[in-house]
Amino acid sequence: MEHIVIIGNGISGVTLARHVRKLSDKKITIISAETDYFFSRTALMYVYMGHMKFEHTQPYENWFWEKNRIELKKGYVDTIDTDNKTLFFAEGDQMQYDKLVIATGSKPNKFGWPGQDLIGAQGLYSKQDLDNMEVVAPNNKVCKRAVIVGGGLIGIELAEMLNSREIPVTFLVREDSFWNGVLPKGESRMINRHIKNHHIDLRLNTNLKAINSDENGKVKSVIIEETGEELECNFVGLTAGVSPNISFLKDSKIDTKRGVLVNRYLETNIKDVYAIGDCAEQHEGIGNRRPIEAVWYTGRMMGETLAQTICDNPLEYKPGHWFNSAKFLDIEYQTYGWVFGERGQPDYEKHFHWKHDDDTKCITVAYHKDTNAFLGINTFGIRMRHETFDKWLTENRDVDFVINNLKEANFDPEFYKHFEKEILATYNNQLQTV
């Protein structure tokens, strides 16, 4: 029986395993050094906040794996010999495979800041990161202040987590507005204000210079580059993005750049070796997508696709229309299609922006300035229906159609206030004045 070995038990690896099992009888082994069972990484924050226990982040009960004949191995893969199709573990043992899938995900970026490896300086990615956080920042007596470096999604989640335990947070963001590499101006500004409303000390245009140590090798303070100010703190969250977790491949024959290089079939340069999820890098980005996409659902989709290929139905990885979502403290965010941020907005792209007076809801619709074609939408504080926008994008609708039919796409709970009329009025107004 063919032996499929998957390194990494995250969403990509596990989705692959589940689909291979649905389609075939092959022997499947999932290897992880992180945890015994698959858990949802995106839910780690809720464990620290006390909304859930760690067990609740595991989507399948523990008997699920044996019942579906998916073998789980706890171990750290040290090296790979692709000539003999053998894995060597740090623990000393080895394993043969027929097909190998690398799904090792990412690790937090560190940019060589002095003191970045001190106790109390860490990212938030793995279960171990969360465990460490419980040690260094269990409450506001042990951790008098926390500093977060990097203005992205993990950064704001970390801020929310620390806030829930009443630990004062200083949030250092290199850009002049939060996440403005991705978000258009109006949205980014609104989130700035929302962060401050939570009593988080948001510092824009601010870089980390160094992290200082106390006599025990723990974080004592940080130095800010622009002002030279020293901020006393016991925890430094390093959340300036993630990069593929593939250092164990450096002595192998598998081609890598930032990630493991794969073609559209998710195959590497070595036969029977594949890579999926955060650690896979396309030779070229697909459409507007980046070559590496560290997003939960793209990992899942790659798993679904590769399962077909492995089970003798070779399929290209062809992601559909871009979408994503997140939550900034209390404000939900969804995006469908492409809306570019302040930086990097193509010159053909125009925006229509509407914001509610309460400063927690807004939408931005991107369209083509010549053709009026609808390109994408960002919504804050209003839920939208994925299916509807997927359909509209496929049908190449124009911006007028989208604004006029926005109600059809609304996904807010019953009895919620609707804003479609207001949005339409604003839209008509702007067009007249322009």
């Binding site: 995106t42 906040m49 465990d131 992601p319 209390d330 009895f415």
Partner: protein, 529 residues
């Protein structure tokens, strides 16, 4: 990790979550209010019961209100479940168990030893806790309190005070607010005040909570109840007709349009208590597959039991002689069997395929009911049913289902089994409504394409123990007979994935294996197979 369950007996919480000074004061006020009740319970003589009762209820209410305002109004609107699994009381810690024991003991005394609460026998004046509530009862209906009046008053106070807390907690969510107001209204008006006023109007009328539908209101067709109604002329007749119509006509229609939520989380008193006072415990319901299996067996067994029992009850007071009244035992039992057979045949014909394996269980259930009814009919005497005395049979159902299951376990075990264990495992009404919801209802929870990140907030906060995430991560609509439509899964979802909807019957069930967002060819490929 501090996501531990704190089994330490220490009163000082070792965790980061503490309560503010204002909350401590609020707790103090509430506890003094409870202390007055406790004093009365232990027969301490209170000089002016009216004053002390008012003081006690106001202080309990005020304590909850002040505490909640401090907890939620000091923060921005949004989901605030911080520390739920760290707090001893809401994570089966010491305080959770302590509360469970106290509540359970209270229920046992209430149901089986009301004399310890001070209920007087044979016209003597009430003492103790029941005596404390005499002034309120006299004010409303002009009679002295009973242990049920005490319970009803406390129940209503709990729903109102904790309902206020719930409204504050979900003040960003209008669905939750309106739903909670509805539950508070029905408890205060329909369950508490109207029956008292009905007594004032006509004191022969049996107690009737208008929103309570058979089989939850299992005694409505009992002999004493029916006689009580019939002896009250047109009003009584109207009420009994309403009882029948609400069971067989109103209920299915509303469930078709809105799902069982119209009842379970908008109207029902048991649901009302679970949604308000029980909200802190909703995350404790087990989501294991084994719990789901147990639930399905248990709840349908209770349903079989209640159908057979009610039939037996009515049967027991019907005559054999058709000269006296057209409805004889023979006619009645035949009618019931024909009715059940039509329902069963209809379900199998229209939904047999959809039910799959469950159809077999349904057939077994149907067979058991019919067999029991026939067995009863052919062994029955004027005195005995199932070889047991009619009266004994009646009290068996009352005690085991009506009291122990719904009260003692259902509510007493909130801090252990979660807030809706009665609704989930034992309520025959929930079983019937769930049956209707699963088979014909426009209601479903829609999942939003491929946005789910399997975080599990939805499953964690499902009080009915549904593993919502299991459906959401597959992009499947959630059509479950147990769903009471409380809407909290939708509220807590950080990605806006879930929505409670009433929509057409087409496409209600949509099993797909590949989620939206992936390439269309792949979806076609997989869905075609």
């Amino acid at each position: 990790m501090s996501n531990k369950i704190n089994h330490s007996m220490s009163l000082a919480s070792p965790d980061a979550f503490h309560i503010s000074t204002k909350q401590k004061v609020a707790l103090g006020i509430g506890l003094v209010g409870l202390l007055i009740l406790a004093l009365a319970l232990f027969n301490v003589h209170l000089p002016n019961t009216g004053l002390f009762l008012t003081l006690s209820l106001v202080m309990i209410g005020a304590g909850v209100v002040i505490y909640s305002r401090e907890a939620y109004l000091t923060k921005l609107e949004g989901i605030k479940n911080d520390g739920t699994w760290f707090k001893s009381i809401s994570s089966r810690g010491f305080w959770g168990w302590a509360l469970g024991v106290i509540l359970t003991s209270f229920y046992i005394v209430l149901y089986f030893y009301p004399q310890y609460l001070g209920l007087a026998k044979d016209g003597a004046p009430n003492t103790g806790l029941v005596g404390l509530f005499d002034p309120l009862s006299n004010l409303l209906s002009g009679r002295n309190a009973s242990q049920w009046f005490v319970y009803g008053s406390l129940y209503t106070i709990a729903i109102l005070a904790f309902g206020y807390k719930f409204i504050l907690k979900y003040r960003h969510n209008r669905y939750q607010q309106i739903r909670t107001m509805s539950v508070m209204f029905f408890q205060l008006g329909f369950a508490f005040l109207i029956p008292e006023f009905m007594y004032v109007m006509n004191n022969d009328l049996p107690y009737y909570d208008l929103k309570s539908v058979w089989p939850l209101n299992y005694y409505i067709f009992d002999e004493w109840s029916v006689k009580g109604f019939l002896s009250n002329g047109n009003l009584g007749l109207a009420l009994i007709v309403f009882g029948i119509v609400s069971t067989f006509l109103i209920t299915p229609i509303l469930t078709y349009k809105y799902g069982k939520r119209w009842y379970c989380s908008w109207v029902c008193g048991c649901g009302g208590l679970a949604e308000t006072a029980g909200d802190s415990f909703r995350q404790l319901s087990s989501k294991k597959l084994s719990a789901w299996k147990l639930e399905r067996w248990l709840i349908h067994t209770v349903l079989v039991f209640s159908v057979v029992m009610t039939t037996a009850m009515v049967y027991s007071y019907l005559g054999k002689d058709s000269n006296n009244f057209w409805l004889t035992r023979d006619v009645f039992i035949t009618a019931v069997i024909v009715f059940l057979t039509i329902i069963f045949a209809g379900v199998m014909y229209f939904r047999g395929k959809e039910l799959g394996k469950d159809a077999k269980a349904g057939a077994i259930g149907y067979g058991v009911v019919i067999a029991l009814l026939l067995f009863m009919h052919f062994t029955a005497t004027t005195e005995n049913l199932f070889f047991i005395k009619g009266g004994t049979l009646r009290s068996i159902y009352g005690i085991y289902i009506g009291s122990i299951f719904s009260g003692v376990i259902g509510t007493g075990f909130y801090p252990i089994l979660g807030s809706r264990s009665w609704c989930r495992f034992g309520c025959p009404m929930a079983a019937i409504l769930g049956f209707q919801q699963r088979l014909f209802s426009k209601f479903r929870i829609t999942t939003n394409g491929g946005q789910c990140i399997s975080c599990g907030n939805c499953s964690n906060s499902c009080e009915m123990g549904i593993d919502v995430r299991a459906y959401a991560q597959k992009g499947e609509n959630i059509v479950r007979s147990s769903c009471v439509g409380c809407g909290v899964c939708s509220a807590v979802c950080p990605r806006g994935v879930l929505k409670l909807e009433n929509d057409t019957m087409d496409g209600r069930i949509n099993p797909t294996e590949i989620l939206l967002g992936n390439d269309v060819d792949l979806m076609d490929f997989v869905n075609k197979k």
